[in-house]
Symmetry: C3
Subunit: 343 residues, 3 copies
């Protein structure tokens, strides 16, 4: 039987012993049968989706056993974790079913940010209630009920307890920094984001979970939950993409390769390749636009949603007439055929 994924991790729990978050240094997909066998023997893993609590001693035994079967990377992680002052967990996902616990949910978010699965490529249904709302501080995650006392204690001791975020999702970079990226301001990239190699995210950029970039990209705008950005695409400063959680309804927004969305612009439809949206222009699915052919002649009107996913479009607002126009590199005959094929 092939298993979906495993992660050895450590993290913080509240005073009731409930997980607040889990850090998996190096999760992996489709673990070997040998690795699974070790988990069965050491932690009584039972072949379902399970988050197995482990003592430091058990983690040490895991390290030895992994070494014995040649699973050196797992052994190395287990060895490091065996000294942890924080609780330990070995999470095994036999299948990609909906997550059912905080450690499972965190493992799936790690898989995305480690680029082991793509956005929409892993089952996250029901994840929200599994992610506790937590105070993310300079002393790690703290349960919100335990926060006031911790703040008061720190203050009277002359320390600052810095509360950087109150959220269900932590920032990605405190868990994993994928290779070949720049993220100027990490508070704006959630764990569960998929940041392709060669991506630069400037200070105004933002990436939600289950969203991201395929490869090289310059991101100075906001990538909403569920949105994927193609290679060589440039999101201008402060531009917006409509997400599946907020107003994008059922349309999954994606941008193709080599697109350019201008500063303070926005897109509410998927774009194909090599599309441009002028700075400051927001295209919603319901916008009716004038369609211009390769000679700049208006040949018809179209709803923006009917242009969804098409390539080589340039959207602009005519600065004299005020109408939204879409320009193409196609003749009027080609355009008419293409538009009608979608009616």
């Amino acid at each position: 039987m092939t298993h979906f994924s495993i992660g050895l991790g450590t993290g913080k729990q509240n005073k009731k012993g409930e997980w607040l978050e889990v850090f998996y240094p190096k999760p992996l997909m489709t673990p070997s049968d040998a690795a699974i066998k070790v988990l069965k023997e050491t932690l009584w893993y039972g072949d379902s989706n399970e988050a197995l609590a482990a003592t430091n001693e058990q983690m040490r035994v895991l390290a030895e056993s992994f070494t014995n079967v040649g699973e050196n990377e797992l052994a190395r992680i287990a060895q490091s974790l065996s000294n942890s002052k924080l609780p330990l967990v070995a999470t095994v996902l036999a299948t990609d079913d909906s997550p059912t616990s905080t450690p499972e949910a965190y493992l799936k978010l790690h898989l995305l940010s480690h680029r082991l699965v793509k956005p929409h490529g892993v089952n996250l249904s029901g994840i929200f209630p599994l992610l506790p709302n937590v105070a993310w501080t300079n002393e790690g995650a703290i349960d919100l009920e335990e926060l006031p006392e911790a703040q008061l204690k720190a203050r009277t001791e002359g320390r600052l307890l810095e509360v950087a975020s109150i959220d269900k999702f932590p920032k990605m970079t405190n868990y994993v920094v994928p290779a070949g990226v720049r993220i100027a301001h990490t508070a704006r990239v959630r764990l569960g984001a998929y940041i392709g190699e060669g991506t630069t995210i400037m200070h105004e950029g933002f990436v939600n979970f289950n969203a991201g970039t395929e490869g090289t990209a310059m991101i100075e705008g906001r990538i909403s939950a569920g949105v994927m950005i193609g290679k060589g695409t440039d999101l201008g400063g402060g531009c917006s993409t409509m997400g599946t959680l907020s107003g994008g309804n059922d349309i999954i927004i994606a941008l193709g390769d080599k697109c350019l969305v201008g500063a303070n612009a926005g897109v509410g439809i998927p774009l194909g390749d090599r599309c441009t949206v002028e700075a400051g222009l927001y295209i919603t699915a319901g916008s009716v636009v004038n369609v211009l052919d390769d000679k700049g002649e208006v040949i018809s009107k179209a709803k923006a949603r009917d242009l969804a996913g098409k390539s080589d479009l340039l959207f602009r607002r005519n600065s004299l007439s005020g109408s939204i126009e879409v320009l193409t590199n196609k003749s009027s005959i080609q355009l008419n055929e293409e538009l009608h094929s979608h009616n």
Copy 2:
């Protein structure tokens, strides 16, 4: 005599002994006569608005005295503070007069963020000069004149002195995290914000002091100073509300319940309930708009400021004509009556 508020606090001072900031773990409104009597006996409180310095020993005595008169919550705070390594203060506001000292100013900002008073519900006049401009660091507040030496010292010792903000206002969450909120990126919510229960502030959200949300709300845009947002209202990513400090002049902007302001949009007028502003559209008070009735017919023009506070309006820019339109669910007869009643 009823007193307005008291707060027992601790905070940092500069080397001259001037307050840089004060942390009040649990301020309260209309303290009992018994509590006031304790403050009079222990700290010679004199019935005006006063920030009373207290030694650790005096704070211990306060704790005992509060216990003796059954003020157990005050006793608990005083007991915790009595061990503080930082200076202590007991601030009593007999009345809601303009604040006259840094501890008084901080107490009023705390009252807002603890939801004990509403924005515009407490006298903040003259507060700016009372709030010193401070370096907010991972070692707490530091006087700007003392900062260069502190930075050099930290560096040569191999530590980083992280300077997160240079501002008159600290971030709210290092002082109080009200119940039932999510604030994805706390650097963007100032102490003095009022964040209603059920509010989620995403990374792009921002809330200034003396501003906030009444209850459940999704905030991905900017709530300027003085602006209040109704229940069930959704501010889209990067949207703007004009504040009383910056361009909003004397009009106090407020949004009613169940409004939706689209991404990258903006409002320069107050909105009633159930209003929508299309993504990317900025409504300023001076904008002249076409008014459409429930059949979508243009029946008149109006200045946006004359629509201030009305409910059930939808603002959009016609994507072909470029004109700003406001749609209603009212017939042209009802609309005419309503508009004329404001002439």
Copy 3:
């Protein structure tokens, strides 16, 4: 021979001994011949642009020698640095040639942020490859290859290794806080920014390197690389300026004095003094606009790029016709002359 600049600094290196960053507490321009002589004698400085490694003992000798020649400020810095636990460097720029090492690049960025040189006033060509992409953490700069082990180690020890940024540029305020500024959220101002005295940068403000403000200014929008903002100018919340790195092409954008760019607006052309851009309006160089005279009559059309740098213009989008208009305080005769003088 006059030398350009010197800086005594300390910073972090990776395990290979390569500089990750350098902190210069107090760099200076045109050092005295006496100071240069000390560097020649102590560190064998050879009159070119050099980053001279120094031991703690050498730094102590430097301090003594600077004192002996009356260079007390340099002596004070050298004395403080001589105790550093981190590597030391004395960087001397004989000339303002292109930087050739990480310490030289960092010195030039410091010169800008210390207001010793203005944006475009120092040679930064070829700086990007000299700035390593680094993890900026609460424990200082960490090489990206060394980060995963450091994160794992911190976690197992129960500490949080906070990764605030993955970038070539650090935040300015961890290196220098110039006098007379407020910067509400420092993560958005890069080292190499020039922040004029009297500038307030609100949470939504942003300033890239080699860019900034001349003096008093209220910045709630984004100042892109290479952009300079005049005195008394107000950038509204979320507004955009096109930079030389991204879409601004070869035009260097600058704004004059007393301009007002509205919230969520944008400028792709330089502006003169006392110009206004309405909230929500993006002016690109290619926008064709209606030109109105002092009576509000349309007298001609113009490309925005032909209005570059002119003063006393007000840009708005007519809310009924949808056309972009530029209003002036000039008569139609004056306007015609001015426009034609640019044809």
